[in-house]
């Protein structure tokens, strides 16, 4: 074997590795074993990974933020004003610590007020949210691909095709509008990072679900002869059965109070309208009409809400209805919101009733579905220590 000797090239310039022994435990000195974030009290005995990456990223002038907010709106208010909701958590009526020459920088002891006690039970941060949503879209893609390969859409009768192109199509607008203009909007406005991150994840669930439905609609346009991929627009714009839902969806997007927006959607609208449509109509009607694909998409949206978004919402509002200082104040306001939004949502739900008679294979009766939706709604309220509003009997 002959080796070819290459001329040695000019020495490359590269940083030299050095042994520094800068790893944990190499020496003992004050703080050498202090390996926990020490500026907050964990909810449980030990700090969770979620808490470590979430808590206290958004500052608060009432505890550590000694120089106050630095940039304000034109009215001079900066940061995250606590009165962007009328709900209150204990401690918020204490004034912000005053700062002046020689005042020092100490605020109230952490957490200073009850808003900081909220923890998302889903423990969402970037790793969890991408893992979850990537799994959902992968599963949906596989389901739809497999349905296409097995010609599953050929089993659909004409009425069901029309039902899907119009009504499943219309629902995507609800998800998109609420995801973008209720939840993405609300994540600017709550007083802690834990609230705002949970709300932003909720926003992405809805926007993803809206897109899942839109792309499903595109697939159906490609797979089913005469499937009208634009029928959902006309339905959403002018079908009388959908105008009640649209009206209330628009009302939800113009709420100023961030907590009211989250509460109205996740506590009132979702059980009374969202689950009514998705669970008690689509999921029940699909199998009888030869459709096993649509329930897998809609089921993903159901799971987003029922297993994750509702879960954090209950934790968020339970703290407020059990607040050691403002439980009564909060309960009175939530009762008002319940009264207002229950009326609107029940009206919207009832306007959907004609949809129940559209498929060939009929789902359980509308009134049965609505009763179950009402029971579900009452059960959620019970968990929050709230009374079922009289408006539910409409």
């Amino acid at each position: 074997m002959t080796a070819t000797v290459e001329p040695r090239s000019a020495q490359r310039s590269a940083p030299q590795p050095m042994f520094t022994d800068a790893e944990a435990g190499a020496k003992e000195f004050p703080d050498s074993a202090a390996r926990n974030f020490n500026y907050f009290t964990p909810q449980k005995r030990k700090q969770s990974h979620y808490e470590d990456v979430t808590v206290e990223v958004q500052p608060d002038p009432r505890h550590y933020l000694s120089q106050g907010w630095l940039y304000g709106f034109s009215d001079g208010r900066g940061g995250y004003p606590l009165d962007w909701t009328v709900l209150k958590a204990w401690g918020v009526d204490r004034p912000e610590p005053e700062r002046f020459p020689g005042s020092g920088g100490k605020g109230y002891d952490w957490p200073a007020h009850g808003w900081h006690e909220f923890r998302d039970p889903n423990e969402e941060w970037e790793l969890t949210l991408y893992r979850y949503n990537a799994n959902v879209v992968r599963q949906i893609n596989q389901n739809v691909d497999s349905a296409r390969e097995t010609k599953a859409f050929e089993q659909w009768n004409r009425n069901w095709v029309t039902f899907v192109e119009r009504n499943i199509g219309a629902w995507m607008h609800v998800e998109h509008g609420l995801g973008l203009y209720v939840f993405a909007n609300a994540q600017r406005r709550a007083p802690t990072n834990m609230h705002n991150n949970a709300i932003s994840v909720n926003s992405m669930h809805r926007i993803r679900f809206a897109q899942d439905l839109a792309l499903y609609n595109l697939t159906l346009s490609e797979e089913i002869a005469d499937f009208d991929g634009a029928a959902h627009i006309e339905t959403w714009n002018s079908d009388p059965a959908w105008q009640g839902v649209r009206r209330v969806a628009e009302q939800l997007t113009v709420i100023d109070d961030w907590a009211e927006a989250v509460f109205a959607v996740n506590v009132v609208f979702e059980p009374l309208v969202g689950e009514l449509f998705r669970s008690h109509l689509v999921q029940h009607a699909s199998p009888g009409n030869g459709d096993y694909v649509t329930p897998t998409l809609v089921g993903a949206g159901e799971h987003d809400y029922a297993e994750r978004d509702l879960r954090y919402t209950k934790a968020m509002f339970s703290l407020l209805t059990n607040d050691k200082e403002f439980a009564d104040h909060n309960t009175a306001i939530l009762d008002q919101w319940l009264s207002t939004w229950t009326t609107r949502c029940i009206t919207a739900a009832r306007e959907l009733q004609p949809l129940w008679s559209q498929p060939d294979a009929k789902p359980p009766r509308f009134e049965d579905g609505l009763d179950r939706a009402k029971n579900r709604f009452s059960a959620i309220l019970a968990e929050l220590n709230l009374q079922t509003p009289k408006e539910l009997t409409q």
Partner: protein, 550 residues
């Protein structure tokens, strides 16, 4: 679905948008800009179906590298000089990231283009990603690096420290004030498009040279999202430019945003890259060289200048002045010197410079040693407690500077310091551009035009004032920068972790009190203030007192 082209899928999701029929949304955030409805395209065509798996795959790479770093004992090769500055950087950066998420809704009702809202929503969740992935990196450093102090109380420190506060305006500028000024011009057009190059590309390269390959892993993953955000900003900017009535505001906002980003980002990242490194190869780029490449050439000349033909008035003078500050006036060196002067009020350790460092600085910045060499020699001499005070309180030819009321970096280029009386307070500014930002730009009228939505600069903007008259030991205790023995400071002016060589509260107790330059200035008569200013602008470089008058 998976077989559909991205373009077709993206076109389909545009059908999701709808105009309200029954209730008109009222924006919770105001702007003085006006927009016509226009179908500006989202150039990146991101669909969540592909977005989530893509981000998950990026996560796999990041977390795989994190595991590898720990298993491969990366921290046996990490330079402490470098990791110590990460205590500052990683305390700051998660807030600007999450603030960028919070900024997106400011644009929903002010920019009437649903296609862009889709991109903004994706940016929102990208920023949640960035904030939490960076917090996670900090957590990993805390758990595996030799000295967890400063990481372990990071977010308390950041919120009450004078350096953290400088960085915090980078975040708060995104989320308040005029919606377009904040969330579009300041955030996407300047901070993201220009300065993330040095933040997330140049700085990680320096981390790698110092044995830390996790910072590049995380931050390059972050930077790969930034191109989407830059596109969001560009599309909004083009919409704004199409209405001539906005040109005056764009000129104002670009001037403010450019100058503030320069003041804040160059101060911090310049210091990390120049003074936080042990890599003194002469052919490695200095911060100035990086700045010239990433910001001057790539941003200014390639991105900004071509927009001139659309009517954008570009602050050529301020861009050239920024370069002048960095190259001729030693802005980064002055900042690093100040951070080291104030080491005792920090929460990280600052390594003294050595002969090898001096040689590199002199090679990259001819004349550096004459200006800064003696001071850094004094810093090394005074680094271990030995009966003397911290350098800030010793006579080393350094005048503790006044703080700039606008950018909150002190007025370090002494000749540029200007003053103005605002709301009954005499304020000091590091440069005329910062005075203009406070007294002209952030006002309800601008050049005779009503600007009722413009924000305000608020807060207690001179850190020293809060502690005026306090003993230094009480200052540090009040801020919580004390280790778990109850007396050793988190901050140290050296890297030696031998407890006998570490500074404690006892050392600070015997120091003279902290005095706020601004409080002292406001106690002066007008003539004294004039004399103070005349003396100040004759000081420097390197904080030297003004020469005695002839």
């Amino acid at each position: 679905m998976s077989r559909q082209s991205v373009a077709k899928a993206h076109e389909k999701i545009q059908e999701l948008a709808w105009e309200p029929l029954y209730h008109t949304p009222v924006s919770q955030y105001g702007t003085d800009y006006t927009f016509q409805k226009a179908k500006k395209k989202d150039p990146l065509k991101q669909v969540l179906r592909s977005y989530f798996p893509m981000q998950e795959e990026k996560d796999h790479r990041v977390y795989g590298a994190s595991d590898g770093a720990i298993r491969g004992n990366m921290f046996r090769q990490v330079q402490e000089r470098w990791l110590e500055w990460q205590k500052l950087f990683l305390s700051i950066i998660p807030l600007p990231e999450i603030s960028a998420a919070r900024a997106m809704p400011l644009l929903f009702n002010t920019v009437p283009n649903p296609e862009l809202h889709n991109g903004q929503a994706i940016q929102m969740i990208d920023e949640v990603r960035h904030s939490t992935i960076q917090q996670n990196l900090k957590r990993l450093y805390m758990n595996n690096y030799i000295d967890p102090a400063g990481f372990n109380n990071s977010l308390r420190n950041f919120q009450n420290d004078y350096c953290g506060t400088i960085g915090r305006q980078f975040a708060e500028g995104f989320i308040t004030g005029d919606a377009i000024t904040a969330a579009s011009i300041y955030l996407t057009i300047v901070a993201e498009t220009a300065f993330t190059n040095t933040l997330f590309v140049a700085m990680p390269a320096e981390a790698a040279a110092n044995g830390d390959y996790l910072l590049p892993t995380v931050f390059h993953s972050v930077q790969s999202d930034e191109s989407r955000h830059i596109s969001n900003g560009y599309a909004t900017l083009l919409m704004a430019l199409s209405d001539e009535g906005n040109h005056q505001l764009l000129e104002r906002d670009l001037r403010y945003a450019w100058w503030n980003n320069h003041r804040v980002v160059d101060a911090a990242i310049g210091t990390f890259i120049e003074y936080g490194t042990k890599d003194r190869r002469k052919d490695r780029e200095s911060y100035s060289e990086m700045w010239r490449r990433w910001i001057y050439d790539d941003y200014y000349r390639s991105y900004l200048v071509p927009l001139e033909k659309y009517g954008l008035v570009i602050p050529h003078d301020l861009i050239e002045e920024s370069w002048n500050q960095i190259w001729n006036k030693g802005y980064v060196h002055e900042v690093a010197q100040f951070f080291a002067t104030g080491w005792l009020a920090n929460y990280w350790r600052i390594d003294p410079m050595t002969d090898k460092d001096f040689e590199w600085f002199e090679y990259k910045y001819p004349g550096w040693y004459d200006k800064y060499g003696a001071w850094w020699e004094n810093y090394a001499r005074l680094s271990v407690a030995n009966g003397h005070n911290p350098i800030a309180l010793e006579d080393v030819d350094y005048v503790y500077p006044a703080r700039c009321w606008t950018c909150m970096v002190p007025c370090l280029i002494r000749e540029d310091m200007v003053m103005a009386e605002v709301n009954g307070q005499m304020r000091t500014y590091c440069h005329e551009a910062c005075r203009w930002t406070d007294t002209v730009a952030f006002r309800p009228t601008y050049q005779g035009r009503e600007t009722p939505n413009m924000g305000q600069l608020i807060g207690k903007r001179e850190w020293e004032t809060l502690y005026h008259g306090w003993n230094w030991a009480d200052v540090v205790s009040d801020m919580g920068y004390v280790r778990d023995d109850g007396k050793t400071l988190v901050a140290q002016p050296h890297l030696d972790l031998d407890p006998k060589k570490m500074w404690t509260l006892d050392h600070l107790r015997r120091c003279p009190p902290l005095l706020s330059p601004n409080v002292l200035l406001n106690e002066m008569t007008p003539d004294q203030q004039k004399a103070y200013h005349a003396d100040y602008v004759r000081q420097g470089p390197a904080g030297r007192p003004a020469p005695a008058s002839a």
